[in-house]
């Protein structure tokens, strides 16, 4: 989580505290809904004065401000939620372990070979690659507007390219004493397998 995420969460927390604090103050009798001032206690103008909301009850203003905090945080937090993509689909006719690879690109401009640019990664196009050993991979692209609904690559039938290859001890080099092959789950310490 970055600073932006913490700011959004903080704003939501403030809103909730204001609303629940207002309820507690009402319950304790510190503020009353019946108490009204001569001048508006709160005026909210939205959409270039098309929508105007005004109240003379300061207690009600407390709730409105609190709810505004929550609503605005949810609105600006949508970018944060966009990074979570639900992937759905089904690979048919495959006996092997299926791997789904998600790939995208963020080109950065250079000036005389130098780069200095802040990138806020946004998925304009996402490539979904359905891969299984011995089968031809299936590629499908998703545009940005489709990603809000998640990635549903539907039903994919992979074409078999080669029969299963069994391990041949002659092709597997022995490891020297004291050296162990780290599990695949520990991958990512260096280098990166990438699109060709």
């Amino acid at each position: 989580m970055g600073t932006y995420d913490y700011a959004i969460l903080g704003a939501i927390l403030c809103g909730i505290i204001m609303v629940f604090g207002g309820i507690v103050l009402l319950y304790k009798g510190a503020i009353r809904l019946q108490v009204a001032s001569k001048d508006p206690a709160l005026t909210v103008e939205m959409f270039q004065n098309e929508l105007k909301f005004s109240t003379r009850n300061p207690a009600l203003g407390l709730f409105v401000i609190g709810l505004c905090f929550v609503a605005l945080s949810i609105y600006f937090g949508q970018d944060m939620a966009a990074t979570a993509i639900e992937v759905r689909g089904r690979a048919e006719n495959v006996d092997e372990k299926v791997t789904i690879l998600l790939q995208s690109q963020w080109p950065v401009d250079t000036h005389e070979g130098r780069v200095h640019q802040v990138v806020r990664p946004q998925l304009d196009v996402l490539w979904v690659v359905v891969s299984a050993p011995g089968y031809k991979p299936h590629y499908k692209s998703f545009a940005r507007r489709e990603l809000k609904r998640g990635v549903d690559f539907g039903s994919v039938t992979l074409t078999k390219a080669t029969p299963k290859i069994n391990p041949n001890p002659a092709r597997i080099a022995d490891l020297p004493a004291g050296v162990e092959s780290p599990p695949m789950s520990e991958g990512g310490s260096f280098g990166a397998g990438g699109p060709l």
Binding site: E96, G134, P137, T162, I165, N168, R171, V179, G194, L196
Partner: protein, 106 residues
């Protein structure tokens, strides 16, 4: 004076070491079977006793794979290929520059 010179030398050495680390090379090639047909969907990964395991690469429809940014090292790497979770190939490779490595399986 001598102490200051030593500090400068250490700083330059550190910078050189850092740039050497930053200069990684690509390891690329193909995976094919005994009939010289490409094998897609194979997981290719490398590991090194010092650096650990690389991120995996997957062979495409033409059996091609590429691993970017592999740092050079005097000690050899182990290049492995997996059929799903099953190890089917391992060999010792040296990385001093871009490396083309074709894997043949049977």
């Amino acid at each position: 004076m001598k102490q200051r010179l030593n500090l400068w030398l250490i700083a330059i050495l550190l910078l050189l070491t850092q740039s050497a680390w930053a200069q990684g090379f690509s390891v690329y090639g193909t995976v094919s079977n005994v009939y010289d047909e490409p094998v897609p969907g194979i997981v290719v990964s490398m590991f090194h006793p010092v650096y650990g395991r690389s991120a995996p690469a997957y062979t495409d429809g033409w059996g091609r794979y590429i691993l970017y940014d592999v740092p050079p090292h005097q000690a050899p790497y182990y290049l492995e290929a997996y059929w799903g979770n099953q190890l089917i190939y391992r060999d010792v490779v040296q990385v001093f520059g871009p490396l083309e490595w074709h894997i043949m399986l049977d």
